[in-house]
């Protein structure tokens, strides 16, 4: 379980470029939920994800992952609980290292690293098995450099690496956005398959409202650094993109009314 409470963060505080990215963002994701996050540019989606991962520390508010307060911990000290796949297919893996070396890095995520050989024989069975589930033939190319793989293949391996060891939450940051439509569909299928099979708790940021409704068990929309609506279960079933837009307009309309009430 992951719970963010009243997160606030302002970039460039005290400068003319002051930009409040998170304005009291609160969200609790329960064990086994697969939440899709949508929102326009500047809504705070990426900032929220970076705050959860530890890449950015928030000004105020608390982040609790599996009953541990991680608010002030840097990325590498949260990595045992938080797994992540980046938007850039090249960012999640090291191109100069072989496939097996990348996987060996991931299998020790958040654990102590010693002086024993990194690529151990005992890992090989697991590496081959999980790679063969991708059906890309990578299980026979364990020694190949990661840089020889295509963007889609690398994103698939990143996803595999993020799910190689257990985590409290899997963060997916528009991880299909930089891929061509066919590869994006493949990676998205793979994502839902892995999340369902391993019963992972996941948070997926996406630009596509359609995608946000098609996958996952719950959808959250962010606007101006806050959650504007949050739907799950029966309310979410059968919902279409236009319903989502309507919902969004309604929410925005309400907030305008609130302002006019205040001013009036």
């Amino acid at each position: 379980m992951i719970s963010a409470t009243d997160l606030r963060l302002t970039f460039g505080k005290g400068t003319p470029l002051e930009n409040p990215a998170l304005r009291g963002m609160s969200l609790t994701v329960n064990q086994g939920e697969f939440v899709t996050v949508i929102g326009s540019n500047g809504a705070g989606k990426s900032t929220f994800l970076n705050a959860l991962a530890g890449e950015i520390l928030v000004d105020s508010g608390t982040i609790v992952v599996d009953n541990v307060n991680v608010t002030k911990l840097p990325t590498h000290k949260r990595a045992d609980r938080v797994a992540r796949v980046f938007q850039d297919p090249l960012a999640g893996t090291c191109e100069g290292l072989s496939i097996e070396e990348n996987l060996a890095l991931a299998i020790k995520r958040g654990q102590r690293r010693g002086l024993t050989t990194a690529v151990k024989k005992q890992y090989m069975g697991q590496f081959r098995e999980s790679l063969s589930s991708l059906k890309l033939g990578l299980e026979n190319r364990l020694g190949d450099k990661m840089g020889l793989l295509s963007g889609g293949q690398r994103q698939a391996v990143s996803l595999l690496m993020a799910s190689l060891t257990p985590s409290a939450i899997l963060l997916l940051d528009e991880h299909t956005a930089a891929l061509d439509p066919k590869t994006a569909a493949f990676v998205l299928d793979l994502t839902t398959k892995i999340i369902n099979e391993q019963k992972l708790t996941a948070l997926m940021v996406t630009h596509s409202m359609k995608q946000a409704l098609e996958v996952g068990t719950r959808t959250v929309m962010l606007h101006q650094g806050q959650v504007v609506f949050d739907i799950a279960g029966k309310d979410r079933e059968g919902l279409e993109v236009k319903d989502l837009l309507e919902l969004f307009e309604k929410q925005r309309g309400l907030s305008v009314d609130d302002d006019s009430l205040l001013l009036g």
């Binding site: 999640g92 090291c94 070396e101 654990q111 002086l115």
Partner: protein
């Protein structure tokens, strides 16, 4: 053209600079950390070893202390970068400048002669070998041990984490790697190797001098880049072998250039030759591939 003694001398110095090239491979290639500290940590290693040998210490123990001193110097550079957010290149220049004073303090004077003192080489002279072959044998053993240890380290969990830190720090952090600590460890190791090289160099040359570090970084880079041009560094072991091969080739090239009277070069031209060689080593592979491209295009 090249006398036997000059030939062995070049190999001997080449083996020592192979250690420097290892260090530069660690910082420049593995960590992507342009570290100029080596110009200070090389004479630091020499100074520490020379002072301790003069004080009657066991020469191997003195050499070990030189390694530790080099590591401390590297750690200072890395901490300036990681903890105080000073640009890596600038941090290393600051340490390098500071080390000039430190080295003078360590030695108490600009140079120390080790003539007649027991060095790591002394026991080896009782072997049935020519005088100029002894250092080559000993330093070859040292560099092979260093190469194997370094190779095993790079293949270890920590070594792999260090390689990931240099190649993709964001990914490394997401995998739970403390990238700052990795940079400190890596730059310290790198300068430890350079300190070792300085200590061995002082013992083979019979003196430590505060100016002996000038240009070590360029010679190390020349060795690294030259070696990479000869042996493409596709794996860690190939990259490490390339360091040693590059350092020896560089030294032989220098020895030939200085010994070939018809060229008319003298010892004082060394730094100019080095700069020209490094430039050629960087530029030539590009020219070669463009020539190859033109040829293949014509064929097609």
């Amino acid at each position: 053209m090249l006398s036997e003694i000059a030939f062995y001398g070049a190999i001997e110095t080449g083996l020592i600079y192979g250690l420097v090239a290892f260090g530069i491979y660690l910082s420049f290639r593995v960590l992507d950390f342009p570290d100029l500290t080596v110009d200070g940590s090389f004479p630091l290693g020499a100074a520490v070893a020379a002072v301790l040998i003069m004080a009657g210490w066991n020469p191997w123990l003195a050499t070990g202390c030189a390694v530790l001193a080099g590591m401390a110097a590297g750690a200072v550079t890395a901490i300036l970068n990681v903890k105080l957010n000073i640009l890596n290149l600038l941090a290393s220049i600051l340490t390098m400048i500071a080390l000039y004073s430190v080295n003078l303090r360590v030695m108490g004077r600009p140079n120390i002669a080790l003539l007649g003192e027991d060095t790591v080489l002394t026991p080896w002279y009782s072997l049935d070998l020519a005088y100029h072959q002894v250092p080559v044998l000993l330093f070859a053993i040292v560099i092979v041990i260093a190469l194997i240890l370094l190779w095993r380290f790079m293949k270890s969990e920590t070594g792999l984490a260090m390689r990931a830190t240099g190649a993709n720090p964001r990914m490394a952090r997401a995998q739970g790697i403390a990238t700052g600590s990795m940079i400190i460890l890596g730059v310290a190791l790198s300068n430890g190797l350079v300190g070792l090289a300085g200590a061995l160099f002082a013992q083979s040359q019979g003196a430590a001098d505060v100016t002996m570090g000038v240009g070590v970084i360029v010679i190390g880079l020349a060795s690294l880049i030259g070696g990479e041009a000869v042996i493409s560094p596709t794996t860690v072991i190939r990259a490490l072998i390339a360091c040693v091969v590059g350092a020896i080739i560089y030294r032989l090239a220098i020895a030939f250039a200085l010994n070939a009277d018809f060229i008319g070069l003298k010892a004082q031209d060394l730094n100019l030759i080095t700069a020209v060689l490094v430039t050629l080593a960087i530029v030539l592979p590009g020219i070669r591939s463009s020539v190859v491209n033109k040829l293949t295009r014509n064929k097609a």
